[in-house]
């Protein structure tokens, strides 16, 4: 029951537009409000938001629990890193390349993986991460193995007269913000389209969807590729921001992080993922006050999430959003 139903004292003013406006302003002003540390944390949130959006399309909408995001994240990071280091290409090229390479690699990986169901699929996707790391470690001629790629240059844009390089935390924040915003918009567009509805159908009951003419196989493959592309784009930001890419980028820790973001925010809800990434980074950073017990506390937070916020924070956001929506 959303609050609007239980709010007969009619004609409250719709506060959603003003609130949205405030949020936008806040997002834009953030670097000037908080310290560089805060800005940095926000950048991390924005970087992880992209793969999380991708994952949300898979888990939240299509019902495919995947742990492969870290693999595609890593592939994207390496792609961008290698381009930047060897060919010194402008940022948008690296970003697009990262998305493209990850997205395309998802095809050969997805074809076998998506034939599997439930847990087998999960494990297969986890396998991609492990194998990805092994490749990053041993394909030394390209990845420089464990040495990793370091000294990845700052992102720059080549726009004839108004070419510029993104230096410093603040400007990187705006870059990340822009990319994340576009990503969010794209994800939103996908789930709002009829395709989004078909994806949900697949999540709810694949055979029934099939019988109603939904080409589930093709959808799953496409969504898998899209989500990989999202991860790749995130990876390119990651590479440019941390200036280092090492085989460590392929680790389950990142995959689960993204999963936590999606489920914490509320699977099957775009705003949930946006909120989730902020929540996640906020939480882990907040817990730094007690370094010794940080991860223990984090573990408990996960349990709280699972048992008290079964659907993540999405329902709360909804309630709130409708509540301030005034009455129709």
């Amino acid at each position: 029951m959303s609050l609007t139903d239980t709010a007969p004292q009619a004609r409250r003013r719709d506060l959603r537009i003003p609130l949205a406006a405030i949020l936008v302003v806040a997002a834009l002003a953030a670097p000037f409000i908080g310290t560089r540390y805060v800005t940095h944390s926000l950048i991390i949130a924005l970087i992880f938001m992209l793969p999380a959006h991708g994952l949300n399309l898979l888990v939240g909408y299509t019902g495919l629990l995947s742990l492969a995001q870290a693999a595609f994240f890593g592939i994207g990071a390496y792609t961008a890193g290698l381009l930047a280091v060897h060919y010194d290409t402008p940022f948008y090229v690296n970003l697009l390349a990262a998305g493209l390479v990850s997205g395309l690699l998802a095809l050969p990986l997805g074809i076998p993986a998506l034939r599997l169901r439930a847990t087998s699929f999960v494990m297969c996707t986890l396998g991609f991460v492990i194998i990805g790391q092994a490749i990053a470690k041993n394909w030394i001629s390209v990845t420089r193995g464990d040495m990793g790629l370091s000294g990845i240059p700052k992102p720059y844009f080549e726009l004839g007269p108004l070419s510029f390089t993104v230096t410093g935390t603040t400007s990187f924040y705006y870059l990340a913000l822009a990319v994340a915003a576009l990503g969010t918009l794209a994800a939103w567009a996908i789930v709002r389209s009829p395709a989004g509805r078909n994806m949900v159908a697949i999540r709810e009951n694949e055979t029934l969807a099939e019988s109603l003419g939904v080409p589930t196989w093709r959808y799953k493959l496409i969504v898998f590729m899209i989500s990989a592309a999202f991860a790749g784009v995130g990876g390119s930001l990651y590479a440019h921001y941390l200036t280092v890419v090492s085989p460590l980028t392929f680790q389950m820790y990142y995959s689960t992080t993204m999963l936590i973001i999606v489920l914490g925010g509320g699977a099957g809800m775009i705003s949930g993922t946006v909120f989730g990434s902020l929540l996640f980074v906020g939480l882990t950073e907040a817990l730094r006050v007690a370094p010794e017990v940080r991860m223990i506390a984090y573990g408990f937070c996960l349990l709280v999430l699972v048992f008290w916020f079964k659907k993540g924070f999405a329902p709360l956001i909804n309630r709130f959003w409708n509540a301030i929506g005034g009455s129709k």
Binding site: A189, L212, G213, P215, W217
Partner: protein, 257 residues
Amino acid sequence: MNAHLPILEIKNLSKSYGAVKAVNDVSMHINRGEIAGLIGPNGSGKSTFFDCSTGLARPDTGKVVLDGQDITGWSLNRIAREGRMLRSFQKTVTFKALDVEENLIIAGQMFTFPTLASTFGLGKLSRSRIAALRERARELIKMAGLWDVRHQPAGNLSGGQQKLIQFASMLMPEPKLILLDEPMAGINPKIIERVVDTIQYANKSLGVSFLVIEHNIDVVTSICQRVVVLDQGAKLVEGLPHDIIQDQRVREAYLGG
């Protein structure tokens, strides 16, 4: 297409699971614009026959020809989308977390958005199409007497109500042919009358052909123009409803005295 041909023709279909010959060399056809019935004792292979004709299961042998086109080996979704032949399941299945309206709209999308690419559209066109589907869905919801619960998640509805959603979904797009597996099971008598009317309306006015598996003999006799009886995977008899129910073999195998 050539109107004299039967809409669906199945030749020598067989399917066995281990020792069990679920369907054993069954041939049958459905004429254009016909409502045919498929009956038989439990475990006689009716559902398996459906599964094999609609691509859910692969027949061991046999040929399925839909509207002159050989669709043997097509996937379930292709048969539904391109072949325009839909089927309902005996086991009640719905998109549990979605409300009744959404359940029906999903069913409607398959012909309204023919290509995969078109489903990603967000423009005016796709919005208006969806709106149209919603209208249609509401009609069917009224028919099924689900109006009061149309915004409830399907999973929260009663067994019969879910069965009705399944039936309504079949009519959301305009298919050529619908295969129904026990549509009346667990539906209360009054609604059964409506479902029957709806089937006949769809058949007369929209020219949809039907093949209906049903254990409710009254319904079978009242709507079917022709009935095929399976027994132990094989075709026992075929004929007009009232002849069938008189048939001695059918009485023994199916009606039970």
